[in-house]
Symmetry: C2
């Protein structure tokens, strides 16, 4: 894959498929000066195991890297620890390592260079004196209502949300300064947090950053047919072929329904962009379904729109769509599985970061655990659910914001 | 002054004249075991110059010291800096030094031993990793509503209060752990913050502390006759005799009114307890007014109740009360002035901590600067006022909570 070096082309790639860009001029200025690489950060809290939804932000990271940007992934270990103090810091460290290896493996599998990709754990600077002093200073500039409004789209709406939900948006703003970036990337659910950062960093004497926002992508668990508490509903990034097929076959997919269809969304927001990235040709799409001759033979689509229309008109059946998507997901995960099998560190991170839980003795009460790190998994916000009761309450939000729920 | 060593007598002295004690048993247990000294902390933000109202909490510190307690004064320099970022950290450092010297000077003048009195500046540990981590942990336990409620009596009630107002109550709780004390002392306006500390420290694995609360003492500026923005209305702890007389003579004091009378309050809450401490005899009171013979000759009271009744019945006139109080304040301040005159460090702290302001070019707008450190000056909450407009708004609150406003 050849690197993109023309500023206009770089900007087009950096902002490709985004829902919204704030302060694009800040980004353009750096690109046009050509004095250094553009620096972008994306934050993710190493909580549950990353699932297929994690591919959505990865595609943007791939665009950034292809455009020659320096990409910093903030592994928000403090937030992951604080939001679920049942996991020790040691366990969270393994999870951070696991996330790092997953991100590297996915980006490598997409074929983008990762020499300008770096990982920073939040704990390496978020308890440092200068950072904390700035956090205190910022808390003396930002009003309670403003902090509350900033987190409104990412903090669980409960009657007495945790105080941390007001502090995290300020940290996310400061992270831009401490990670020394030009822009922050996240899901559009981060918009209010990004605006807070733009409005307040200058008051601390720091420069305003650009903000890049991905659309929220519907999940595979649409229509309430899949639930985050059911391990069968989540497709792990190292899932076996057999399990992928099993899980996709049980995914919700009503004939002719193209608006509430996680499989089509995954095709549009993951499969197509990756094909385009790998092929290097704008708009490239090659979706092939190996249907046996007795059921009508193979199916081929050369544009996502055609495929979507075919499904809308019932020319493409749910069973065929599922077979096709399962096959493409299997292709996407094959190199990740291979990395995992070959890398002892990867396996150790998984085993120690996600020790096999003992069977639960009783159903736990729903706890308000506040927000996940608001800069989290962008389109695939990880939401930790501990009990079956929590699922119903969270279901509506989950379905509109995640491709795949991670636990 | 002989030290008190009997546990019951110690407890009586520690809780003397307090409005409320929470978890007195925690305090009693330490006293009865006699294994070590009881440890108490009091927090104050080194903001404006301490004025006469500062004597109110000093009397309790004197009781604690006389009872053999280890007393830690937390000089909340971070809070002082954050709440008024116009003053540099260097200036705040001088203010902290000035506060320390004032506290030492007052307590020495009262005659209590200060060998178990220590001073800690907040910045020495409040940005340290372990403290910050605990602050983050606590913010993941305490709800936004709970934090808001805790600060309700000390945070200015504006439409969009600063986020810091929610963080400070948590810090004040953690300070109990990090200063390693058995109890915290403050004004009864701190009650909700103290309850928050009691409710949440155990969740972090720390022990619950006792809480000692002083009543709120009415200020000298009752009835709106004096204002904090008028330098003539504040009696500095190093005020000259002439200025004391001038300021007291202009104090509000309606004949016969004993409920809205800052001079009587000062007599009751400062002059009487200090006489008692110095004399060593419970209930000792000796108030002498040197009135010239032509105006009726000297006046003598041997109990505060007699004096108050005399004023209520118009047997004691405002002019005579003022003369008496001015004389006693002058006696109280004489040793502080002497310390100041002899101590170059004291003078330097005043000069560099409170540089003489340039005449203002314009009247500034009222700014919301959030709460002062909630553990501040206890009964004499320092309130910083920058403009004449701010005075009216703050007047009501001030009058019910302060003996003397400090700027």
């Amino acid at each position: 894959m050849s690197a993109v070096t023309d500023p206009e082309e770089q900007y087009r790639l950096i902002t490709k498929n985004l829902q919204e860009v704030l302060n694009g001029q800040i980004i353009k200025d750096v690109l046009e000066k050509k004095e250094r690489h553009l620096k972008i950060y994306w934050g993710t809290a190493p909580t549950g195991k990353p699932h297929c939804g994690y591919f959505v932000p990865m595609i943007k990271l791939a665009h950034f890297l292809k455009a020659g940007c320096e990409v910093t992934v903030l592994l928000a270990d403090l937030h992951a620890f604080l939001d679920n103090m049942k996991a020790s810091l040691e366990v969270v460290n393994y999870r951070a390592k696991y996330y790092e290896l997953v991100v590297k493996s996915i980006l490598t599998s997409i074929g983008v260079p990762i020499d300008k990709l770096k990982f920073v754990v939040g704990s390496s600077y978020q308890t440092r004196e200068d950072y904390v002093m700035d956090l205190f200073r910022m808390s003396n500039i930002v009003g309670q209502n403003d902090a509350k409004r900033a987190g409104a789209d990412v903090v669980k709406q409960v009657s007495n949300p945790l105080l941390s939900g007001l502090i995290y948006p300020l940290m996310q703003a400061l992270d831009e300064q401490y990670l020394d970036v030009d822009a922050q990337f996240g899901g559009v659910d981060q918009r209010k947090i990004f605006v807070l950062a733009e409005e307040n960093l200058p008051s601390l004497g720091y420069k305003k950053r650009g903000h890049l926002m991905n659309p929220m992508v519907p999940g595979l668990g649409q229509g309430g047919k899949m639930s985050a508490s059911d391990p069968n509903s989540k497709i792990d990034v190292v899932e076996t072929t057999k399990n992928i097929q099993k899980k996709i076959s049980s995914a919700y997919c009503a004939p002719g329904d193209v608006t509430d269809n996680g499989l089509l969304s995954f095709t549009q927001f993951v499969i197509q962009p990756i094909q385009e990235l790998k092929n290097g040709k704008e708009g490239y799409f090659n979706f092939h379904i190996k249907r046996p001759e007795q059921y009508g033979g193979p199916i081929q689509f050369n544009s996502f729109e055609d495929m979507k229309n075919a499904f809308a008109n019932n020319e493409l059946s749910p069973i065929d769509l599922k077979a096709g998507v399962a096959s493409y997901i299997d292709d996407l995960l094959a190199p990740i599985r291979a990395d995992y099998e070959l890398n002892k560190e990867f396996q150790e991170a998984a085993e120690k970061g996600y020790p096999v839980a003992q069977p639960k003795q009783k159903v736990k009460k729903v706890k308000n655990k506040g927000t996940r790190y608001p800069g989290g998994a962008a389109a695939a916000t990880p939401v930790s659910l501990d009990s079956v009761e929590a699922v119903d309450a969270a279901a509506t939000k989950l379905q509109s914001t995640t491709l795949e729920e991670s636990k």
